[in-house]
């Protein structure tokens, strides 16, 4: 009998291959006849293209093909689609200007692709690309969403007035206004949620090939959801028959959201591979990643919280300008709406919430979902303003939160979501205990004696994961359902191959999913293989994002396993000559209830493929089942983070002294992997709050932070040793009781850190990232104010 696997910190089976260089990434693949592509990109933020001359480049050694926007237009290739249709407060659909795969007429951000040069070698492609002459008419550019809305701002798309993609709203405005009118206290804050540049270790990479033998295409691509990539590319852009296109996303070295989307390069290479009848490879250089991977966040927000005399929340009012960049990326329109404003209740029973969001085009790289996607922005607004209100009203921030916690479930928020379960008090209590909040005043006094400023901050976050119940998603504008598919193929020897539509790019699915399967079937994990990332193997998939893999993809597998067991019982009943209803399945044995007569799982599997005298009207040979799972609701991971910092007022350096994370992820399959996900998320969130900021120059529209010399990624020595724990309320609507853990760290940590820093600095308002210069300048300003 196999040991139980659920809840056990099994080591990640994929790590051996990753750590020993045995991984198989897109760029590792070199096909017979391989050619290489280099994209000619706009050096300007905004310009009209007068001409693109390719004759000199075409004569360069080794050139196999050159294609421009004109070729793309002539081939009637569509622009890239956006997957989510938002309707504005005016009832109109959002503006969806064309997003050509090679620029046509205009370039709209630095890095916009203008032409592709394909050559025998990468060096030859580079040399030739330098000979492509593009004549530009420079136009003024705008990079900031607030500036872009102002009258007279340059228009990114000639036909989108005021650069406004949509203005959308959620919640009851009249009720919110009325609640504000009766408030005893109103806290107002303005926020900037800084633009982030994802930077997975593996840059985007594509290898596209066409086969004349059967008129089919194969696209290897570093991507988080190969089926969606194929669907979008075939159905909406290239008009190719889906069964003639195979998309493979092999080992992928990180994504964080940036590899969900269908990118121009993927489509250009797929199309061109037939044109040149050769496989074409492109791997982004790091500078290209900076310029062209979809960025994250970039919100300007004004928020107001109304409270009564006792600190009870009456209403929350939020106005956000969200920067979309130059074009709508695949999920872009959903991020600042559905994934953001619906989370503004947080953990609190705020009766009235109204949020208005204006999405704005600018001359910058497209902005889309990035680890957390909308939920970090919402949590930042809620948790910063709650902490600020507590300080203004001189109420302990933890007590103020407690006073407003949601305590009975299910709970319908005023912003569309229905929380199924949770226990916010439990995570808060445990976090306070682990962080030794009681000892903080003494630590602060001790730091003060050394001339240092110490601060403590909380964040009680909630997120909606398990994206997404199709009914809800559809009613909110999704153009596709967001279910997941799984298939369990039992081999004659009882070994099992599982095909999942979820995609793993660091999350450890090959381990976690195998634990679930082995545990359910009562077999050894060594007998389970998890396969993902290939449209020719996996029946379908919506891919990995929004912390959905286990809650949605895992559940699809569980449903398929249930079917396998159901069929196994039929086979066992036949073999044991018992009634099907008398067969029990436990610990890998099919047993006639109340007897010692049983058949092991492997025996049943063998029988399925070597059947004798099966009653063919009731029982088919074989043991292979698939299932699709569409969740009935989101899952709602939640928790409390407590951060303690020390600021050196002389230099502005912030040190994170303690960081406590207590999360409720529901049931936990592999606590070690969960802890790893939390650590990674925390570093990403703290990186945003401490260091990272994508900056475009407001004059030239150039990306100032285009290399690691200027874009500051968090390093290990920026981080403290995290203290993490969990408290669980199992999800009520999936069989595993799981909620998802991939994004929590990135969602809860920025406000916790910023609340700690503002506490240390004694200011209410301080924007991310907390770089030494900005901390120092804020202290200088506070001193000047005091002096005046």
């Amino acid at each position: 009998m196999a040991t139980p696997y659920i809840g056990v910190p099994v080591q990640r089976r994929e790590d051996l291959r990753f750590l020993t260089g045995a991984g198989n990434y897109t760029d590792d693949l070199t096909l017979p006849g391989q050619t290489h592509a280099v994209f000619v990109r706009s050096p300007h933020a905004h310009a009209r293209i007068r001409s693109v001359k390719t004759a000199a480049a075409a004569r360069a050694p080794g050139v196999v093909g050159i294609f421009t926007g004109e070729d793309v237009a002539a081939a009637r290739i569509n622009g890239l689609p956006c997957g989510w249709l938002i309707h504005g407060t005016d009832g109109q659909p959002m503006k969806e200007p064309a997003h050509p795969i090679l620029a046509q007429g205009k370039v709209r951000h630095a890095g916009d692709p203008v032409a592709v040069v394909i050559a025998e070698s990468l060096a030859q492609a580079r040399d030739a690309a330098e000979r492509v002459e593009v004549d530009y008419d420079l136009l003024p550019s705008v990079v900031d969403s607030v500036e872009a809305l102002k009258p007279g701002a340059p228009l990114v798309h000639d036909d989108v007035a005021a650069n406004r993609c949509y203005t959308w709203a959620i919640g009851d405005k009249a009720a919110t206004d009325a609640a504000f009118a009766s408030a005893a206290h109103v806290t107002t804050l303005e926020f900037q949620n800084n633009r982030l540049i994802p930077n997975p270790i593996e840059p985007r990479a594509v290898n596209a090939t066409y086969s004349r033998a059967d008129d089919s295409y194969t696209l290897h691509v570093s991507n988080q959801n190969p089926h969606v990539e194929r669907l979008l590319m075939c159905a909406f852009v290239l008009g190719l028959p889906e069964h003639k296109v195979r998309v493979v996303a092999p080992d992928v070295g990180g994504g964080f959201g940036s590899k969900i989307y269908l990118y121009a390069e993927d489509v250009v290479l797929t199309w061109a591979s037939k044109k040149v009848n050769r496989p074409i490879k492109w791997t982004a250089e790091r500078s290209e990643s900076f310029l062209t991977d979809a960025h994250g966040r970039d919100h300007h927000t004004r928020a107001q919280l109304a409270l009564d005399r006792d600190g009870r929340f009456l209403a929350l009012r939020v106005d956000t300008k969200a920067n979309m960049g130059a074009y709508l990326s695949t999920f872009a329109s959903a991020v600042p709406t559905i994934l953001y404003a619906t989370l503004l209740a947080g953990q609190y029973a705020t009766p009235h919430i109204h949020c208005e969001v204006t999405a704005v085009f600018t001359n910058t790289a497209p902005v889309d979902a990035y680890r957390g996607a909308g939920r970090p922005e919402a949590t930042y607004v809620v948790e910063r303003i709650v902490e600020a209100a507590a300080r203004e009203m001189k109420i302990d921030p933890a007590a103020l939160r407690r006073r407003n916690f949601i305590r009975s479930f299910p709970y319908q928020t005023p912003v569309a979501l229905l929380y199924d379960t949770g226990d916010y008090e439990a995570t808060l209590d445990r976090a306070i205990e682990m962080a030794d909040v009681a000892g903080f005043p003494a630590r602060r006094a001790e730091a003060a004696r050394r001339g240092k400023l110490r601060g403590l901050g909380y964040a009680c976050y909630i997120e909606a994961c398990g994206i997404a119940p199709s009914s809800v998603a559809g009613s909110l504008g999704a153009r596709a359902g967001l279910f997941e598919a799984g298939e369990v193929r039992v081999h004659p020897t009882g070994k099992v191959t599982v095909f999942t539509g979820s995609h793993a790019h660091g999350q450890g699915h090959e381990t976690t999913f195998a634990q679930v399967v082995a545990d359910r079937l009562g077999i050894s994990m060594d007998d389970v293989e998890i396969v993902h990332g290939d449209t020719s193997k996996v029946l379908f998939g919506m891919g990995t994002y929004g912390s959905r893999s286990l809650a949605v993809g895992g559940t699809a597998i569980v449903k398929a396993l249930d079917k396998v067991v159901a069929k196994g019982r039929k086979i066992a009943a036949h073999l044991l000559e018992a009634a099907e209803s008398d067969i029990e399945f436990a610990d890998g044995q099919f047993r006639v209830a109340g007897t010692d007569r049983s058949k092991a799982f492997a025996e049943i599997a063998l029988t399925a493929y070597v059947p004798h005298n099966f009653p063919h009207d009731k029982l088919e040979p074989g043991l292979n089942e698939n299932a699709f799972y569409d969740p009935s609701n989101f899952t709602f991971p939640a928790g409390t983070y407590v951060c303690e910092v020390e600021v050196d007022p002389e230099t502005g350096i912030v040190r994170i002294e303690r960081f406590v994370a207590v999360d409720d992820f529901g049931n936990i399959i592999n606590p070690m992997i969960v802890e790893g996900q939390v650590h990674g998320g925390l570093v990403q969130g703290l990186g945003q709050a401490m260091n990272e900021c994508g900056i475009y120059d407001s004059g030239s529209g150039q990306l100032t932070t285009g290399t690691f010399l200027d874009y500051c990624m968090p390093r290990a020595d920026d981080m403290p040793s995290f203290q993490v724990d969990t408290r669980s309320t199992p999800c009520t609507h999936n069989p595993l009781g799981v909620k998802g853990c991939g994004e929590a760290g990135a969602i809860g940590s920025p406000p916790a850190l910023m609340n700690a820093i503002t506490d240390a600095l004694g200011v209410a308002d301080f924007a991310m990232p907390a770089t030494p210069q900005r901390v120092w300048a804020t202290l200088q300003q506070a001193q000047r104010k005091q002096a005046a």
């Binding site: 040399d127 100032t704 990624m713 120092w776 300048a777």
Partner: protein, 266 residues
């Protein structure tokens, strides 16, 4: 990267003659700057002359007068040299704080000084410790060597062979790292030399490493942190970028100088 011819030099003289033979030839030391600029196609030498095989450019010698480092001394070698740690700990520490492990294993003192990046660490040591730069043709005093941003007194074809650092009475280097690049955003080396004179050399803050006369004077009168704590350096002409405005850099010079004095006395 563009195509180029790769050559290896067996000695400094050999390197010099190879360098003279091609107008667009360049030296390759640790390659930590050179290779990156070639990959970005910002540099396109016809010939790259690798100094790694030139034995006369290597070696660390320590005697009563000071420490002499061959130009090809890798940062990691200097950092872990027991002799340097003993005779001139400030230099071992400075070299150990450059970049990351890979950069320190490849990057060289000669390459760093010849390159004269405004945010590099070594220039602060050369100027602050009053070192002498020896080249294939002459000796150059530190005060005459660093001319401007990426600009030095080196003539075309001239190769740094070694640098000699006299032993100071006491010295320390304080580096405020740029949070992103980890180069010096402001680095201050304070040294009280054998003759009692004091040097305060600042890197990272301006277009080129420079000395702060007011601080040197104050420290000659009293080598204490308090002596520099209130000396402000004008922000005019200092570097300003997204990481630090000029006034912040000016402020950090004072803080780092004060902390360097504290460290030198410790």
């Amino acid at each position: 990267m563009y195509a180029f011819r790769y050559q290896t030099a067996s000695s400094a003289a050999d390197a010099a003659s190879r360098l003279a033979a091609h107008e667009d030839a360049k030296l390759l030391a640790g390659g930590q700057t050179m290779i990156a600029s070639m990959k970005l196609r910002l540099a396109s030498p016809s010939d790259l002359i690798d100094l790694a095989g030139a034995a006369d450019l290597r070696g660390i010698t320590v005697d009563a007068r000071g420490v002499t480092l061959g130009a090809m001394s890798r940062h990691a070698e200097v950092a872990r040299s027991a002799e340097v740690q003993k005779a001139l700990p400030v230099l071992a520490k400075l070299a150990g704080g450059i970049g990351d492990r890979m950069v320190r294993n490849m990057g060289t003192m000669g390459g760093s000084v010849a390159n004269n990046d405004p945010a590099a660490d070594y220039p602060a040591a050369v100027l602050g410790l009053n070192a002498t730069v020896t080249t294939t043709t002459r000796s150059i005093a530190a005060d005459d060597f660093f001319l401007g941003m990426y600009e030095t007194a080196l003539q075309p074809g001239e190769i740094i062979t070694s640098i000699s650092f006299p032993i100071p009475k006491r010295a320390a280097y304080m580096k405020f790292k740029n949070p992103a690049s980890r180069y010096a955003m402001v680095g201050v080396l304070v040294a009280q030399l054998a003759d009692g004179s004091v040097r305060v050399a600042v890197t990272g803050a301006g277009p080129v490493v420079f000395r702060v006369a007011a601080m040197e004077k104050a420290l000659e009168a009293s080598f204490t942190p308090a002596a520099v704590a209130s000396i402000k350096v004008p922000a005019d002409g200092l570097n300003a970028d997204i990481h630090a405005q000029a006034d912040y850099r000016a402020h950090l010079i004072t803080v780092m100088a004060k902390r360097a004095v504290e460290a030198a006395l410790a």
